[in-house]
Structures are given as structure tokens and as C-alpha cells.
């Protein structure tokens, strides 16, 4: 692995080939906010909150740092007017769905996002996909997935799988930035297997 030299927020940063900007930044102690990123998982690039400004080939572009590979001489700005505007707006959009998410509220303070800017549409889920991807990639159980597309997209537990796999796992709950994963699970359980929650947990 050869060493790559790039610039992040004005400082020279050494990175290894194959690293992403996000990894390089974190290794250098620079914080870039993320909502859909988890080290154990394949980068997804869906929340776009980690968008940074990159100078490349004489041009400036906006790219998700979680997916953009480092390259020699890259100039990266993790904060700029454009970057901050993007983060602020994305947070405001997401807060209309999950106004009580601690993670969103903390970021909203940093970027001056107004949680009441957009009319509330409480879905409580920001579709980061952490639960879906964790279940698929790490646990390989596929107990939770995406339904539908566009603004109608939602996560849903597949009752038949969840009833077998989720009892002793529930590892996706703490990953969820809004605690919706747990709610969706409980809802599935209540609808598909009414009364079961009060029963003792079956042994493996």
C-alpha cells in the first residue's frame, strides 16, 4: 500500500491507497458528520450529510466523503458555505420526519438547522438503512428491508424472518439514529404475532 498525500482543511494528511476521504479525515482527527455510515458496513452514500468540497483537476466538486477515494494532491474542505448549506438543509428535511432524534438535534445546532422549517411528516425514520444493511451484511439474516421507493420508501421487518432471528439479536436497535428500528420491530411483532411479547423468550 503506497502512501498518499492530500490536503484536508488546509493541513497535509497522509493516507493509504484505497482509503476514503472520510477515513483519511478521521485518522487525522478531523470530524465529518455522518448518519448512514458504520465502519463495519460497506459505505452507502445515502444521507449525503458527509458531503465535502473537493478540488480535482482544476474544478471544485461536492462529493460524499464516505465513498470518495483519496488521491494524491486532493484538496478537501470539510466545511465551507456550500457544504454547510447542504448539511443544514438535509438536517431540516430529516427533522421534519424525526424531530426528536438526538443525533439530528446535535447536528442541527452545529449547522444552524431549524427543526421547524418544514411541515412535520412524522415517519420517525430517516432511511439511513443502517438496520437493513447491518442485518444483511453483518448478520446475514435479511430480517429487515426497504419497501417501495422515493418518498414512499420505508423500512419494514419481514415477520417470518424476524420471528426467528430477532429475539436474540436486536443489534440494529442501538444503531438507529431515531430509534425507529425498534419501534418498527415492536409494531411488526404486535401485528404479526399478537400476545407473543409477553411470552418467554424461546431458547436457541
Amino acid at each position: 500500500m503506497s502512501e498518499i498525500l492530500l490536503q484536508i482543511d488546509g493541513n497535509e494528511v497522509k493516507a493509504a491507497e484505497g482509503m476514503t476521504i472520510l477515513e483519511a479525515a478521521r485518522s487525522a482527527g478531523v470530524t465529518i458528520p455522518t448518519l448512514c455510515h458504520l465502519e463495519k458496513l460497506t459505505p452507502y452514500g445515502a444521507c449525503r450529510i458527509c458531503t465535502v468540497e473537493v478540488d480535482i483537476g482544476g474544478r471544485t466538486g461536492l462529493f460524499p466523503s464516505c465513498l470518495y477515494p483519496v488521491a494524491e494532491g486532493l484538496v478537501v474542505r470539510t466545511r465551507s458555505d456550500r457544504v454547510d448549506r447542504i448539511r443544514k438543509m438535509i438536517l431540516e428535511w430529516q427533522l421534519s420526519h424525526a424531530p426528536d432524534s438526538e443525533q439530528l438535534k446535535d447536528l442541527a445546532q452545529i449547522y444552524g438547522a431549524d427543526k421547524d422549517r418544514f411541515e412535520k411528516e412524522p415517519s420517525f425514520c430517516i432511511l439511513c438503512g443502517l438496520c437493513v444493511r447491518y442485518c444483511a451484511e453483518v448478520k446475514k439474516k435479511y430480517a429487515v428491508g426497504f419497501n417501495d421507493r422515493g418518498p414512499k420508501r420505508e423500512i419494514a421487518f419481514i415477520a417470518e424472518v424476524a420471528s426467528k432471528e430477532c429475539w436474540n439479536c436486536k443489534e440494529c436497535f442501538p444503531l438507529c439514529p431515531t430509534s425507529y428500528a425498534q419501534a418498527a420491530y415492536v409494531l411488526t411483532e404486535a401485528l404479526a404475532f399478537p400476545g407473543r411479547a409477553s411470552e418467554p423468550i424461546p431458547k436457541e
Partner: protein, 645 residues
């Protein structure tokens, strides 16, 4: 079936086919493309066949006529279309009942049936030959010109018009490098939307060190109102295959896919037949034409997601995963299908390749503008007299397309805008109609070439409604993976809906612009990246319409239902009862000799009364942004004699 093993055998076979065909023998070409089929072309074909039997033509060897069921030549407005060769007599809007006359008059008596000919609106001169009809005359039909001359299900028809000559030339006379050079020199730019130079794209894939490479035909044409690629794949599938084969040779790929949306059943059918025939004849498979080059093709049907026209989503779909995009880089040229270098071009781009190889790069660069060469097919639709497919040289003006070819706006209405590039494109107003159509000029005025959709809009079109329409479309089609596209489109649509309902706020236009910018800059793929274009371009040129909606509660085009009202002018109403009978909401009060009055409480603003009121009365008025005048008091509604009381 003969397997053709060398260029010499190909030419020998071609000559053999040609020798069996008598160019003087009448041939009736009937368009059986999707448009004409919808207009009843299949019944016309049956009627013509029956008529030939009935009139005993089958036995008369001398005058036996061939019937050719072809793809779309473009003039969909006037379908079903029929052209009789060798005279090239063009009949329009042919009905099964016309079959008898066509056979007895034109085929047997060699006379033209006048009433089926084209006649322009200005003069009554009938035009006999297809190529003389203004709609066709002003085009340059290098790609779709062959559609009416060949049966897409017949490889021999394709060979007759010079098919697979370019393949033979490329494979057996040129090196892959030289083929690539020609496409680069021709400066063929991708016809799918972005206009990226195809040669450069090929080179990226070619230069990749991976051994396995793929080439793909993107036939997932999804823009509302666009059907260029459908017409090519339905009407001349071998030309697309030939282009793909030549590209594969230049790139060094030995396997290809045609990714076609399943909503194009005829394209699927014809392309499938073409692949099978090409395999039988040896244009696909091992050692093609004795060149040592191997290539196979599979056809894959898309499941109906617009976003799968975006190349990374297409690849996901092809791999059997949900059609959702991935971040670029890495580009498909580096990491594409199954992780291997992959070159994706759309149907029209591939179809241009044989043309370049046959005629040389200089021929291709002699057509078009400095940076956009060759022709482009547009689907000209909307408020224009001649709707259909038009193929024009790059650099033609929008005005020429709409007026010379399209015949202008129908019904004496005023032109308002032309929308190019589909949901990713923009609306261009009258003031820019003289720009030269190419990739860069369209971008300068805030639109895009896109894949070639061209929707003409007249004065009755509301630009807020247009923006709303496209965002509505994108709401259904956004995959929902990334937040800026999913949320940005959702929020922009909400605001547009509010504006169209008279609930717009003072700073809504600025908010739309702000959200448009974030959606454009932060979205994962081109769908989100270009989704704001319809909003931005309508604001750019028609901001006054937005403001009229917001500030005056007025829809100047009388489209937004919540902002319009209808009322009946008591001075003009003759109590004819037409609107009263047609009103679907029973909202019209009146009777014989009783002036009609609209009950505004019941009225749904559907506009039926406005449409059915005879023009000589024109008693129904549209209102927007103004109060509805109080109804005539009941005691004053009676009409006595010819005058009103």
C-alpha cells in the same frame, strides 16, 4: 440457414438476396410500429392481404405485390402510414376500408388515390411522395430513414440496405484501434442525455487491464413522451446490434447486453428475433466473419424503474439487485457489471456507429455544429401539428423543428415554450427559439438535449403546472436511496402544489431555488442532480406566472383548478342547454329559454361548459384572480322571443 464465414461470403449472399428482388415490383410498406399499431395498423395489414387474395393478385406473378410490415418512419400524427414502392407513394391515416381502393387503383391500375395523400394546411396541393412531405423533407433521416424500407423481423431486408457492411469492414479490414480512432474523430457524443464523447468512453473501458469486459445497450428509455430508442430498436434492431458489435470489437469485449424496458414488448420481440438471426447468420458467436472475434449478446428486460436508465442503477438491475444508483467514481468503465469494466451507450448512440464506419468520420463531422456532430432524433410531441419522430442535423434551430417540420402550433394558439430533455430538462421560451440545437447551446439556455424528448407547449399551458407535473413524475421514480433527491423532490412538490392551489407564500420562489440547488448539488445520481431543472427553468423564464399564482391567486393559463372559476355571460347565453346537459357535476341551473347560471358551490372547475359552449355564442367565461360576478336574479333569466328580458 447459411452461416456466413467471411466478408466475401457476406457480399455473395447479399448479391444473391438482391438478385431475387425485383426493384420494379410493387411493395406495400405498412408501418406497424407501436404508434401505428395503436391506430389500427394491424387491421390495415390484414385488409390489404385479404384484398390481394380477393383481387387474385397472388396468382398474377407479374403484378404480385410484396407487403412489408415495418417499423416507425416517424409521422405518427398521420398514422397508420403506408408507402408504396417503387414510386414511394405515401398514404396517410389509412383505414382497413381503404384496402380495396389501394389494391385496385394503385397496385393494379397504377393510379394514385388522392384522398389518402398528404395535403398541407396552406395549399390544397396533394403530395404524392413521402420524401416531398414537408414533415420529412426538412429532416435528415440517416438513422430512421431505413425504418420504412425494412421489415425489422427480416435480416435479409437489413442486408439489402447494406446491413453488416460496417461490421465486415471493421472486423476484417481495420484494427480495433483504428475503429476506435474513427469514432473518436467523428466526435460521436452519447445520445442518452449527457453528450459524453462515446469514443472517449470506449477508450476508458478498452484501456482497463481487466480481461473480461462488457458492452451494454441502454434501451431503458423512460422520459415521458420520448420514443426515439423504441422506434430504432423496434424498427431496425440489426443496426443497433451492428453498432454494438463494432463497439465491442474496438473495446475488446466479448459479451454484451441489451437492457430494454419491458414496457416495450415489440422492441423486446424484434430485438430478440434480431439476436437469434444474427447468431444463425454468424454475425454473433465465435469467429465472426472469419475474423477471429467472438461476441455474444443477451437481452434483459427492465422491470419498469425510470432510474434504471441511469447507468449505475442499470448495472444493479442487470445483476438482479434493486435498481438503485451507486456513487461515481468508480465509473462503469473501471468497475461495472459484476465488477468488470463496462461500456454503456444508449440505442441511438450505437445505431450511429455503422454509419460512421461505412461513411467515414469526415462524413459524420460534416454534419452538425462545431462540438455536436451528426443528427439527432427528437420525439416532437405536445401542442404541435405534426407530432412524431424527427431526425435533424445538429445545429438546426428549434424554430425550424417546431414550425417547418412540426407545422407549428395547432388551433391558432400562441406558442409558449418547448420542453426538451424530459424530467431532467428545461422549458425554453419563444425568445430562444433561434438557438442552434446542440448539446451545448441547449445547456446554455437552461435546458438539456437529454435523450431527445421535445414537448411543445402553447398559451394554455401553465408553467407552474408543468414543473409540478415533472416533479410528480420524479416523486414516483426517485428510488429514495439518497436524502436530497427523496426529500428535495418531496418538499419542492409540496410547495408547487401549494402554489397551484393558491396557498403559495411570498418567499416560496426563493425557497424553491434554494432547495433546487441543494438537491442538484448533493444528490447521488443524475436523477436527483437534474430533478430541479424543470423548476429552475420555469422560474427563470416564467417567474411572472409563479408570482401571479402566489400574489394574485391567478393562474394566467387557466389551468390550476383551485384558482379558476367559470361563469356564464347572461348577455351571450342563448339557453341552448348544451353545457347544462354536459356538466358532470350538475352545477348548471337553467332550462329552455332560461339563461343558464353556474352554481359555484357545485362547480368543480372542470371546464367542460367552456369547451362545449358553441364558439358562436362563447358565453362561458374563464376567470382567475377575480371575483365571480353575482348570478342574474332568477326573475330576469327568461328569454322572450329572440331577445332577452
Amino acid at each position: 440457414m447459411p452461416r456466413i464465414n467471411s466478408p466475401a461470403e457476406l457480399e455473395e449472399f447479399r448479391q444473391n438476396v438482391l438478385s431475387k428482388r425485383d426493384p420494379q415490383k410493387p411493395c406495400i410498406s405498412i408501418c406497424t410500429g407501436t404508434g401505428c399499431l395503436a391506430l389500427g395498423a394491424a387491421k390495415v395489414v390484414t385488409a390489404i392481404k385479404e384484398e390481394i387474395k380477393k383481387q387474385g393478385l397472388e396468382s398474377k406473378v407479374k403484378v404480385k405485390a410484396d407487403i412489408r410490415e415495418t417499423g416507425c418512419p416517424g409521422f405518427c400524427e398521420q398514422g397508420p402510414l403506408l408507402v408504396i414502392y417503387p414510386e414511394e407513394i405515401c398514404y396517410l391515416q389509412v383505414q382497413p376500408g381503404d384496402a380495396k381502393e389501394i389494391i385496385s387503383e394503385t397496385i393494379l391500375a397504377r393510379k394514385v388515390v388522392d384522398r389518402l395523400l398528404y395535403s398541407g394546411s396552406e395549399t390544397d396541393d396533394k403530395i404524392v411522395q413521402e420524401s416531398e412531405i414537408p414533415f420529412y423533407k426538412n429532416q435528415k433521416r440517416l438513422l430512421i430513414g431505413n425504418n420504412i424500407k425494412i421489415d425489422p423481423k427480416s435480416i435479409e431486408d437489413y442486408l439489402v440496405v447494406g446491413g453488416y457492411k460496417a461490421l465486415s469492414k471493421a472486423l476484417c479490414e481495420d484494427t480495433p484501434e483504428r475503429v476506435l480512432d474513427q469514432v473518436k474523430t467523428a466526435n460521436l457524443r452519447g445520445r442518452g442525455g449527457a453528450g459524453f464523447p462515446a469514443g472517449k468512453k470506449w477508450e476508458f473501458t478498452r484501456n482497463s487491464r481487466e480481461k473480461t469486459k462488457y458492452v451494454i445497450v441502454n434501451a431503458d428509455e423512460g422520459d415521458p413522451g420520448a420514443f426515439m430508442d423504441r422506434a430504432l430498436l423496434e424498427g431496425n434492431p440489426h443496426s443497433v446490434l451492428e453498432g454494438l458489435l463494432i463497439g465491442a470489437y474496438a473495446i475488446g469485449a466479448h459479451h454484451g447486453y441489451i437492457y430494454v424496458r419491458q414496457e416495450y414488448p415489440l422492441a423486446v420481440e424484434n430485438a430478440t428475433i434480431a439476436i437469434r438471426q444474427a447468431e444463425e447468420y454468424g454475425f454473433l458467436g465465435k469467429n465472426i466473419l472469419g475474423s477471429g472475434f467472438d461476441f455474444t449478446v443477451h437481452l434483459h428486460q427492465g422491470a419498469g424503474a425510470f432510474v434504471c436508465g441511469e447507468e449505475t442503477s442499470l448495472l444493479m438491475s442487470l445483476e438482479g439487485k434493486p435498481g438503485e444508483p451507486n456513487q461515481k467514481p468508480p465509473y462503469p468503465a473501471v468497475k461495472g457489471l459484476w465488477g468488470k469494466p463496462t461500456n454503456i451507450n444508449n440505442v441511438e448512440t450505437w445505431a450511429n456507429v455503422p454509419l460512421i464506419i461505412n461513411n467515414g468520420a469526415e462524413f459524420f463531422t460534416s454534419i452538425g455544429t462545431e462540438k455536436s456532430k451528426g443528427t439527432k432524433i427528437f420525439s416532437l410531441v405536445g401542442k404541435v401539428n405534426n407530432t412524431g419522430l424527427v431526425e435533424v442535423p445538429m445545429g438546426i434551430t428549434l424554430r425550424d423543428i417546431i414550425y417547418e417540420i412540426g407545422g407549428g402550433v395547432p388551433g391558432g394558439k400562441k406558442f409558449k415554450a418547448v420542453q426538451t430533455g424530459g424530467p431532467s430538462g428545461g422549458c425554453i421560451p419563444e425568445e430562444h427559439l433561434d438557438i442552434k440545437v446542440d448539446f451545448d447551446e441547449l445547456a446554455k439556455v437552461g435546458a438539456i438535449m437529454g435523450s431527445g424528448g421535445m414537448i411543445v407547449m402553447d398559451e394554455d399551458t401553465c408553467m407552474v403546472d408543468v414543473a409540478k407535473y415533472f416533479l410528480n413524475f420524479l416523486t414516483d421514480e426517485s428510488c429514495g436511496k439518497c436524502s436530497p433527491c427523496r426529500e428535495g423532490i418531496r418538499q419542492m412538490l409540496k410547495i408547487l402544489t401549494n402554489i397551484s392551489q393558491g396557498k403559495g407564500k411570498e418567499d416560496d420562489v426563493e425557497l424553491l431555488q434554494e432547495m433546487a440547488e441543494i438537491t442538484r448539488d448533493a444528490s447521488l445520481c443524475a436523477l436527483g442532480g437534474s430533478a430541479p431543472n424543470p423548476v429552475l427553468s420555469t422560474i427563470r423564464y416564467f417567474r411572472d406566472e409563479y408570482e401571479a399564482h402566489i400574489k394574485e391567486g391567478k393562474c394566467p393559463a387557466f389551468v390550476c383548478r383551485d384558482l379558476i372559476n367559470f361563469c356564464i355571460d347572461p348577455e351571450k347565453c342563448t339557453a341552448c342547454m348544451i353545457c347544462l346537459r354536459k356538466c358532470p357535476a350538475d352545477a348548471i341551473i337553467g332550462g329552455k329559454k332560461q339563461i343558464h347560471v353556474i352554481d359555484q358551490e357545485k362547480c368543480t372547475n372542470c371546464g367542460t361548459c367552456y369547451e362545449v359552449c358553441p364558439p358562436r355564442f362563447a358565453a362561458v367565461r374563464r376567470l382567475s384572480g377575480e371575483r365571480v360576478p353575482p348570478p342574474v336574479p332568477e326573475e330576469e333569466r327568461t328569454i322572450v322571443g329572440a331577445s332577452k328580458k
